[in-house]
């Protein structure tokens, strides 16, 4: 498996896990109780905060890991367009 494919797989797995765990809150299975309270927040709100942080990390990792291949390809295409 190429390094690009491995990175893409890692990002995909992370995003899918995040989507499943977030959906479980929507389903009413996880992160829906008031107790235990954490830093004054009901557990449901704390769970939401964790999902929010994980989501932003997903965006950051997707760009960080997958952008070099895209930038390389894009600059090649731009160069070709400029030459034409």
């Amino acid at each position: 498996m190429s390094s690009y494919k491995k990175k893409r797989l890692l990002v995909t797995v992370l995003i899918l896990c995040w989507m499943v765990l977030f959906s479980l809150q929507g389903l009413g299975t996880l992160g829906v109780t008031i107790k235990p309270k954490i830093i004054g927040m009901p557990f449901s709100v704390f769970y939401l905060v964790c999902m929010g942080i994980w989501g932003v990390l997903n965006a950051y990792l997707s760009v960080k890991l997958l952008s070099p291949a895209f930038y390389k390809k894009a600059s090649r295409v731009i160069e070709q367009l400029e030459n034409n």
Partner: protein, 488 residues
Amino acid sequence: MSALGWLIAVIAIYILILIAIGYIGFKSTEATVEDYYLGGRSLGWIVLTGTTIATYASMWTFLGAVGGNYRLGIAFVSMMMFWNILWPLMFWFLGTKVWLLGKKYNYITYSELVNDYYGSKVLGIIAAIFGILALLPYIAVQLMGGGIVIETFTHGSISFAAGVIITFVFMVLFISLAGLKSVVWTDTFQGIFFLSVMCGLAIFAVKLAGGFGQMFDKIEKIKPVLITHGKFGFGLWIGFVFTWGMAILLPHMFQRLMMAKDPRIIGKTTIASSILSGWVQSVPVFILGLACVILFPGISRKATDSLTVMFSTKYLSPPLAAIVIGGAFAAGTSTLNSQLLTASSLFLRDLIVSPFNLKLSPGKETFYGRIIVLLLGFLVITIALSRPGLIVPISTAGTAICISSYFYPLIGIVIWRRADKLAAYASMLAAGITSILTWLVWKFPFGIYNVLWGFIVGGIFFFAFSLINTKGLTEKQREVASLLSFED
């Protein structure tokens, strides 16, 4: 000065600022179609993030989402935060490919992309029709929001209908004066303005509610269901998530995928949007909605759309309340201007110029584009004046038509390359029609939202027709496949 006087003063200053920004944009807008619709494909990440978020967040966020949080609490904010982070992820995964295709083949709309890839003009026409169908209720919602804001703020001195017309005149005049080059700049200004207003309101609301801990304690006593998810059905919850999480497929959002100056801008915009949309757009409306449960108990369902304005008029001084109303206008105009402009490009380019092979000079196309903006505006105002329901359900169900019908043909271009034009036709028509029927005829069967029905039925048609396709890839499809392969 009276509340109305303050409102007029703030709106006047606000309009002057927008006109000044718009004028600079107008002067720098050349008579090229790319400049008018795509800001000349030259945006940096700050402006691209600003215009994308401001276009995405609308009266929906400013009014509807506060009401949604008031009614549903954690069930609402969890789906809102989910979709507000999902769309930036889609911006990255689809945006990189769409940007590259737009750059290479000079596409301006989604219809042009699918037309060219599948070699069918009819597909583009169907896409344009679904796109306009989805945009009309969404645009109407912005005008309704304007009407609600003005009516509530003036305690009924200015009626809802008059408020709608005032909003309409202001917005259409502004868009007719300048194209997207000014829209993206005014969007950035308006986005910063309304997000700041929302954050300020949330901080103040928490203070009034006695601080964070106190606020949650009070909610636990008054209405604990708001922090324990409650009974909001999963079929609707996940339907909302996928509708707005895929909102990048909406015609006015889709065009933003092609506006970046260079590929790095897409990456930076993705990260910035996930923070701004996921957090700054979602959290303040949740806090304000919960605080309003304590401050305004027992509000009727219909009146929840007015909570932001009610809060401002009750707890803020008239000048500050007028600034909040300015924020609501910022949220509405920044979405509506892009939507009207995009609807105009769908109408002109995809329903008239392309099918009839018309050759219009860029100047003429820009001129006709402005005329169509005016005509569409008149159509939308009649929908808004009929006030068909609450802001959130109308715009979400309308948006679902476009999302579900646009999804599979695009998947056929960027991922699943077995699809031919028959699969694209079948999936687009099946998904679009299903999502209309499961909204207007058989409303959300089994508690499942119309976008999901569209995805299910469209997916069955798409994959079935793809699998029976025995023809190989066309030359164009092979070229696109090689262009979109990022591996060495």
